[in-house]
Amino acid sequence: MPPLLEIDDLRVGFATDAGEIRAVDGVSLALQRGEVLGLVGESGCGKSALALAVPRLLPMPPARIEAAAIRLDGVDLATLSDHGRRGLRGRRIGVIFQEPMTALSPLHRIGDQLVEAIRLHRRLPRREARGEALDWLARVGIADPVQRLRAWPHELSGGMQQRVMIAMALVHDPDLIIADEPTTALDVTTQAQVLELMRRLRRGNSGLLLITHDMGVIAVMATRVAVMYAGQIVETAPSRELFARPGHPYTQALLAALPSAATRGRRLQAIPGQVPSPLAWPTGCRFRDRCSRAMPRCAAPPPLYTWGDGHEVRCFLAEMPGGAGDARGASRPPAEAPGSNEPSPAAAAPPG
């Protein structure tokens, strides 16, 4: 059976006055049914461009999307007409955006926007659609849903708006849900509630592509993780595996840079330098200038190496005899899987 979503060699560019920004530069990934794939990276790494390229929600121009294929259940989306693609959005692909305040129309009441979303793909009398909208507001935990149907978006808090967004993305029970930083604008307690909601309301055999910069959100939600850096995927692994044995020096550095109780009284392992500019990605390994383990051969672009079960790493270290072992030794080893409650004693030991 083909995977739910299959992206083959995706490239997304944006035309700017300063030249073309190659935001996504050759990304391939697959998302199986039932899976939550976390796509993690820092600002400018291309994760949002990737997420929005799948449902073609980028304005073209300035955006340019090229791919060998983007397949949903084995059907290449490029072969569909505009009409066919519109039929997918909302019905088979649901999208949750970062900022509900900008994603919701400020000029329409919450109820009207939900009803419109419902009737877009289903011939349903307005009354029935209204009833369904009411059910959804209750389901996403909005108190007093009858009143709230008549509310304007600005009358709701950020957390409430995001609940409405989730309802809107899920009304057609989509196979694929794409969530772009769904909790970044929210407080921690609200974030926990919204994540719980996404977990609870998602149909078990749907797939969730979750874009975030927050390793904590990944740890709570994702079954598998893809780490992006400078327009490329540098590592993919099952979530527990990634935190226990990060293979790429960038992933290792990101995890070591996290402030926590375990880093008290010690210096954080900062990554020197800046994220490179998408106008001119470095040649060879794109992390090489900031990498403590760079070698002469990193001047050539490294391929993705298989480094264990379902674990891929874009780094020459994975190929070297003992190199992978070294890479493991160099990581801060939070030897425990996420989910247990004590900070690992190993995490307090100086890395390397």
Binding site: P259, A261, Q274, R290
Partner: protein, 263 residues
């Protein structure tokens, strides 16, 4: 000995005005009876969610807002009584770094202007020697003196935050208020800035009031933690104790909600 900064039962209200005459019909009690202390050289983490009053508290300490009632004391002296030179000395002693370095640096000023503006105003530098002073400050925050004549737009978020820190350090503060100072930064850059703040604390004996919603940051650097909710302090104590044995249900809720990969 009195603490460096002591706040007693501080209240800051914002009036709610209605109608064409803008009559005051009520008040938002943003800070509603807060007491806390920061000892010299201590790092205090102030945590709470948006709207809990933590930024208003910072602004009141900086005297950017006028408190409704209560006291702010520096070295035991009530700040409300200060005038003239003593008030200027207070403003030098307490400096701030804001969250958004894209908004907090005037885009029309060079780094030299930005860093030395306060020094000139306070008579800590002269037009003749300010370049030298600014170069020293940039060195302190890990930037090259070659950058003095550049404008903010030439810098990344992390570099801008270094400039903002240099500007705060220029007046020789004893307390640095960091209002979500690393929240807008990417993970890799955030660690650089947190390390810088730790170095500066060691070097200058700085005390920090670190306002953040990020419990990881607070656990990393705070000696003491103060938890605010709806304008009041619900819990405070030594960081390790508050984290290990939170007493207030709201603190427990915050800790439980924080998603971290190393739980």
């Amino acid at each position: 000995m009195p603490p460096l900064l002591e706040i007693r039962d501080l209240r800051t209200y914002y009036p709610i005005r209605r109608g064409v005459l803008a009559r005051t019909v009520g008040a938002v009690r943003a800070v509603d009876g807060v007491s806390l202390a920061v000892e010299a050289g201590e790092a205090v983490g102030l945590v709470g969610e948006s709207g809990c009053g933590k930024t208003t508290l910072a602004r009141t300490i900086l005297r950017l807002e006028t408190p409704h009632s209560g006291e702010i004391r520096l070295d035991g002296v009530d700040v409300a009584t200060l005038r003239g030179a003593a008030l200027k000395a207070y403003r030098r002693a307490v400096q701030v770094v804001f969250q958004d370095p894209f908004a907090s640096l005037n885009p029309r000023h060079t780094v030299l202007d930005l860093v030395t503006e306060g020094m000139l105003a306070h008579g800590l530098a002269t037009p003749a020697n300010r370049r030298e002073a600014a170069a020293r400050l940039l060195d302190d925050v890990g930037l090259s003196a070659d950058l003095l004549d550049r404008y903010p737009h030439a810098f990344s978020g992390g570099q801008r935050q270094r400039i903002a820190i240099a500007r705060a350090l220029a007046l020789g503060p004893r307390l640095l208020i960091c209002d979500e100072a690393v929240s807008a930064l990417d993970l890799s850059v955030r660690a650089q800035i947190l390390n810088l703040l730790a170095d500066l604390r060691e070097k200058h004996g700085l005390a920090y009031l670190f306002i953040t919603h990020d419990l990881g940051v607070v656990q990393h650097l705070a000696d003491r933690i103060v938890v605010m909710r709806r304008g009041v302090v619900v819990e405070s104590g030594p960081a390790e104790q508050v984290m290990a044995r939170p007493a207030h249900p709201y603190t427990r809720e915050l800790l439980a909600a924080a998603a971290t990969p190393f739980h």
